[in-house]
Amino acid sequence: MEGNIFQKYPKNDRSNLIAMLQDLQEVYGYLPEEEIRKVADHIGMSVSGVYGVATFYNQFRLTPLGKNIIRVCRGTACHVKNSANILTALENELGICAGQTTRDKLFTLETVACMGACSIAPVININDDYYGRVTVKEIPKILNKYKKQEQAVSIE
């Protein structure tokens, strides 16, 4: 699958850089270092140049994603409803900062600008589930649900 990406794009053509990175992220879920080096070699750019582009855009990730992706809305309405506290609570509970993944690879914590659900602010979203009017107190309970799911899977 990954091999096709390198065949798909001509060598030494820098204009395909972003498309290539997107395709690779599609395959790996993030951009592994090894692949970034291969891309640089393929399109004839320095590794630092490709790394620079990969870090410039928010859409690219340089670390693998966790199993569950938590998105905390930091839009205006949620901000007014104290989403900063929600984020801090999640960071404390998971022991990571926004943008990072827990060591057990179970959770990735991200912030987003607005989910369009301002009426139920503050909002967080975990995978396909949305949680509105979230309070700091609820956070451990919400996270436990996903931890339990993981345990159930591992017992099976």
Partner: protein
């Protein structure tokens, strides 16, 4: 010709000139940060903005061409406020530790702050916080001091064509760094230090070895020896406001003696020795069907580049150590024996125009019986700092002479410090060795100058020897690709990683005067022209060294002491 008005002065400018250039031509100063002469303008820093009649916004003068009838104000209050704001914002995201900074009094940000009379902190806020990269033995990167002008990135990418560093992240998190932020030592960096020369602040600087040197000087048991590279004598005076290209050899020798060095030798002796060994090697390769073309090996930046990128071509590089390493090896063998010194007690310090030499000196291949040939390398700038702290008033120093016997040198060695110099010196000796006759005119002007690649053919005894001189590592890839394809017509190729050669090395005085390379080179050619002996094989002390100690050039002992091996660093970097 275009006519325009700048600050109510009528200016005639050529089509295609930028406003910045037109203003400069009539003595109007416009500050710049990201601007680099001869490169496509990036217009990133906005410090050069000016006001143009009829245009709504301020425009960057470095990137905007002049037009007929333009009316420009370069110093209106609107312009001044804009510039001042930019400077204030830069300062507030900067450590402001000028008093203890290595670039104190030689910093473009400091200069701008002074020029725009900044007297208060108006935008106190969060500051960027990045770790210092001390991973390399030659250089340090301190991104906290970086103002993101991008000159280092462009030098590395567009001039040297290495691409070891680039902009990463964006907005407040923007940072110039190496791939995956892993540090210079595991990047494509060749440690040439050209980025240091263009850095407006101290975000890029050499790794100082001053402490090791001072400790050795204070150690009564150590016999301390200094040696000076050819290029240092033509530049060090600039740090003391002497005109560019002043030869200060005599003063440096006196200064080094006052610092406490027991002996002061000349790397030029090592350069003459290099020529004898290298010319002999070339002749052997030519006559015994060895690997041709042969590359010079004096420049450690070039060596590192080849090891990292073209390991399959390492056989093409002369096995000769670089001059200061040869000098060090001879000091710790021949000279030690002659003087009855224990080589372990000798501490050799090289004063070099170069940052890569620090890396080179630490190479395990460059030591005999676990004793490094050279113990410490100081750049031109570091030596000046030692002089200052030692209370030496450089400009008032009397001249002195190098110590014997490793201080004698010829004009051929003097020009090692400029692009084409090693080639010219080598040809003067190779011609004699191959034909038995001396070159009539030793001034080989075809290999001089600052073109990217210089070519020259010389007829020696009916055989044509084709040589090339690569001025700046950014021009070397084409030559290497020719060799890969088996299409190279050359026999001998000189490569210097820094544009202009060592006179423009990464360890040299920092300023942005465009005439520096030419004037410094001229100083070296003047030293050469004034010499009694202008060919390396005429060096009397060198003849004695061969008679008393080494035997023949490329002898077994020469190979042991003066030649080296190279490492496939591509493999090492890939395995990391």
């Amino acid at each position: 010709m275009i006519e325009l008005t700048i600050n109510d002065i009528k200016v005639k400018a050529e089509e295609g000139m930028t406003i910045l250039e037109a203003a400069k031509s009539v003595g109007i100063h416009i500050p710049t940060l990201c601007y680099m002469k001869d490169l496509f303008p990036s217009g990133a820093c906005r410090i050069c903005v000016v006001e143009v009649d009829g245009m709504r916004n301020l425009i960057p003068s470095c990137a905007y061409p002049v037009k007929e009838g333009m009316k420009i104000q370069t110093n209106s209050s609107r312009v001044r406020v804009a510039r001042k704001t930019i400077i204030e914002l830069l300062i507030e995201n900067h450590p402001q530790d000028c008093l203890i900074c290595v670039r104190n009094k030689n910093c473009e940000l400091q200069d701008l702050s002074e020029r725009y009379n900044i007297r208060e902190h108006r935008y106190v806020g969060e500051k960027k916080n990045h770790a210092i990269d001390i991973s390399s033995p030659s250089m340090e990167r301190d991104p906290a001091k970086c103002i993101l002008c991008g000159r280092c990135v462009r030098t590395c990418n567009e001039i040297q064509k290495i691409g070891a560093i680039d902009f990463t992240n964006r907005g407040f998190k923007s940072n110039v760094t190496t791939p995956f932020n892993k540090g210079l030592n595991v990047s494509d960096c060749i440690l040439c230090g050209q980025c240091i020369l263009v850095c407006p602040t101290a975000a890029l600087r050499e790794r100082s070895h001053a402490k090791e040197v001072v400790n050795a000087l204070n150690d009564k048991k150590k016999f301390t020896v200094a040696q000076i590279a050819p290029a240092v004598r033509a530049t060090l005076g600039e740090e003391y406001n002497l005109p560019i290209g002043t030869n200060v050899t005599g003063k440096i020798i006196t200064g080094l003696r006052r610092l406490g060095f027991d002996k002061v030798f000349d790397t030029n002796f090592g350069a003459d020795l290099t020529i004898i060994e290298e010319a002999t090697e070339l002749i052997n390769r030519l006559s015994n069907g060895g690997t041709i073309p042969m590359f010079t090996s004096c420049c450690p930046g070039w060596i590192k580049f080849a090891e990292q990128n073209y390991p399959h071509l390492l056989d093409h590089i002369s096995t000769c150590k670089s001059p200061h390493e040869m000098e060090g090896a001879i000091i710790k063998s021949y000279y030690a024996k002659k003087m009855g010194l224990n080589p372990e007690d000798i501490f050799v310090v090289s004063i070099m125009p170069c940052t890569v030499k620090k890396f080179e000196a630490s190479r395990p291949e460059l030591s005999e019986a676990k004793l490094p040939d050279v113990d410490a390398v100081l750049t031109t700038r570091e030596l000046v700092r030692l002089f200052k702290v030692a209370g030496i008033d450089f400009n008032d120093l009397p001249d002195d002479e190098f110590d014997d016997p490793l201080g004698e040198s010829t004009g051929a060695a003097a020009i090692f410090g400029t692009s084409g110099g090693v080639m010219e010196a080598a040809l003067r000796t190779a011609y004699f060795k191959l034909s038995g006759k001396e070159l009539e005119n030793v001034d080989l002007t075809d290999v001089r100058g600052f073109d990217g690649v210089k070519e020259y053919s010389v007829d020696i005894n009916g055989t044509t020897v084709n040589v090339a001189v690569v001025n700046g590592i950014g021009n070397v890839r084409g030559i290497l690709e020719q060799i890969e394809k088996g299409e190279s017509k050359y026999h001998f190729i000189e490569v210097m990683a820094c544009p202009g050669g060592c006179i423009n090395g990464g360890g040299q005085p920092i300023h942005q005067k465009p005439e520096k390379v030419e004037k410094r080179a001229r100083a070296l050619y003047e030293i050469d022209a004034k010499m009694k002996h202008r060919k390396s094989h005429e060096n009397e002390s060198l003849k004695k060294l061969y008679n008393e100690f080494l035997g023949e050039p490329n002898s077994h002992l020469s190979h042991e002491l003066l030649h080296t091996t190279y490492v496939n660093r591509k493999k090492i970097l890939e395995e990391l």
